[in-house]
């Protein structure tokens, strides 16, 4: 039970992170978290406990790439950037999610 719940959550984090990174520049973890909160108008809060493992897992999978660079406050930060594989993964997950959300909404409406 715990495992499936965590997996579902991770799946969504992946989707959100990929979507944000797909907008363009490379970002560090904090900026990604902030952006998700901002865009979801504080409805979604991504905890560090799921964000960072997800980032590292996606880096390993080759969906994103990371590199160390100086941040705006002059500290070294790890910046992430989406790859071509990541974009394909995003497209796939996005359509799956929209399909599922649509289906759930329909069930909720009709039942």
């Amino acid at each position: 039970m715990g495992k499936t719940k965590r997996d579902q959550l991770l799946g969504k984090v992946d989707l959100l992170v990929l979507r944000i990174l797909a907008c363009g520049d490379s970002m560090h973890g904090y900026a990604i978290a902030e952006r998700i909160e901002q865009l979801s108008e504080n409805v979604l809060q991504v905890g560090e406990g799921s964000l960072y493992p997800a980032l590292h897992r996606m880096d390993e999978s080759g969906w994103i790439r990371s590199e160390w660079a100086a941040s705006d406050n002059n500290r070294r930060a790890r910046y992430y950037r989406i790859t071509a594989t990541g974009r394909r993964q995003l497209a796939e997950e996005e359509s799956e999610w929209l399909l599922a959300a649509d289906a759930i909404a329909r069930v909720l409406r009709l039942a």
């Binding site: 560090h28 590292h56 390993e60 941040s71």
Partner: protein
């Protein structure tokens, strides 16, 4: 992610740990700053940050898992998958393994030969200054040419030659064949080799009519003389003549197969009897006894200097040897020689070319 990076993550966990810490600390700092900007007090900001960040050690553990465990697990899975495939097509797999094994084995074998012949330094004192001299059309020179070069050279410190031949060794029973080299007394000194027992040859033993003496190779002394400790002074019958053993060479010494183009290891060495007056003979004309000439360069002398030195000798020889056609003096090119380092010696036997061929062949085969 590069493979070495992943391996580093597995075998240098401290490094990965530092990186994860740094990343999370940066995040923590950013959060604190943002809470302070929103007007929280220092203590409130700390509390809020701690609440939001949760249990960092668990997070770190999961990050480490993502970096190491998952990769290892998926590698293991790949490996298992590969093995299953190999087993499923056992015939093809076996063939591939066989082809690879033969190819790698062939290359390794030929490389071992080439390494001994071309890459390893020659096992002689100051081997970089050792050269060989051949006639300019590739023949090895005759004894008379050796003498002329030695008489005229200004660039070569010492010279020696070896002439390889079969000899008959007769003791009590049937005569047996041994492989011998007849050399100048300077041969061993030039290479920097001393006898392990007894002595090497002295100059006058190269004069004709001397009592025959012989030096044994270590291998011959062990296998044919039973490692006789009192071998020095014993008499062998060589080609029907009694020859006194004066020395035994050290175990490592060999100036023969395959490095020098002699067809097999030399069993024993005898002094070459050099006639005091020899007509000039050129091996290219099918005259004289061809011998393998080696020489040691004087300190600081280059091969180019030896070349021009040898050309001077050729000019002298062309002048001294009267042409059979009056009014048409010899072309000095007929008396010209080439010098090359002992390492090069391309015309000494075909072992180099053969090795190259083998290597090429086994390379193609792969």
């Amino acid at each position: 992610m590069a493979l070495w990076r992943r391996l580093l993550n597995v075998f240098r966990p401290a490094r990965l740990d530092r990186e994860l810490n740094e990343e999370l600390e940066f995040h923590q700092e950013m959060r604190l700053r943002r809470f302070r900007e929103r007007g929280l007090s220092a203590a409130e900001a700390e509390d809020e940050t701690r609440r939001r960040m949760g249990n960092l050690s668990i997070t770190k553990e999961e990050m480490r898992d993502a970096r190491v465990v998952q990769w290892l697990a998926s590698s293991l899975q790949d490996l298992r998958h590969g093995l299953v495939l190999l087993r499923r097509d056992a015939g093809v797999s076996g063939l591939i393994v066989l082809v690879l094994a033969l190819g790698i084995g062939g290359n390794a074998a030929v490389f071992t030969l080439l390494k001994a012949a071309f890459l390893d330094p020659l096992p002689f004192r100051d081997a970089g200054r050792l050269v060989t001299i051949i006639e300019n059309d590739g023949w090895i020179p005759t004894v008379s040419e050796f003498r002329e070069i030695r008489a005229h050279t200004r660039t070569l410190e010492t010279m020696a030659f070896a002439e390889h031949r079969d000899m008959q060794l007769s003791r009590t029973g049937e005569p047996t064949r041994v492989f011998a080299a007849r050399v100048t007394a300077s041969f061993f000194a030039l290479l920097g080799v001393n006898a392990a027992q007894g002595r090497t040859f002295v100059e006058q033993e190269n004069q004709p009519g001397q009592a025959p003496v012989v030096i044994l190779s270590d291998g011959f002394w062990r296998s044919r003389m039973g490692s006789d400790p009192a071998v020095i002074g014993r008499t062998l019958r060589l080609d029907g003549q009694p020859a006194v053993v004066v020395g035994v060479l050290p175990p490592g010494f060999h100036f023969d197969y395959p490095t020098m183009g002699a067809p097999e290891p030399v069993d024993l060495y005898a002094p070459y009897p050099i006639e005091s007056s020899l007509p000039f003979e050129r091996a290219a004309n099918g005259q004289g006894v061809p011998v393998r000439v080696i020489a040691r360069l004087r300190e600081g002398v280059t091969l180019a200097q030896v070349e021009s030195d040898l050309w001077d000798t050729a000019l002298v020889l062309a002048r001294e040897n009267t042409s059979p056609f009056p009014g048409h003096p010899h072309d000095p090119a007929m008396f010209a020689f080439n010098v090359m380092t002992l390492r090069e010696r391309p015309s000494w036997g075909t072992s180099g070319g053969c090795c190259g061929c083998f290597w090429g062949a086994s390379g193609c085969y792969c």
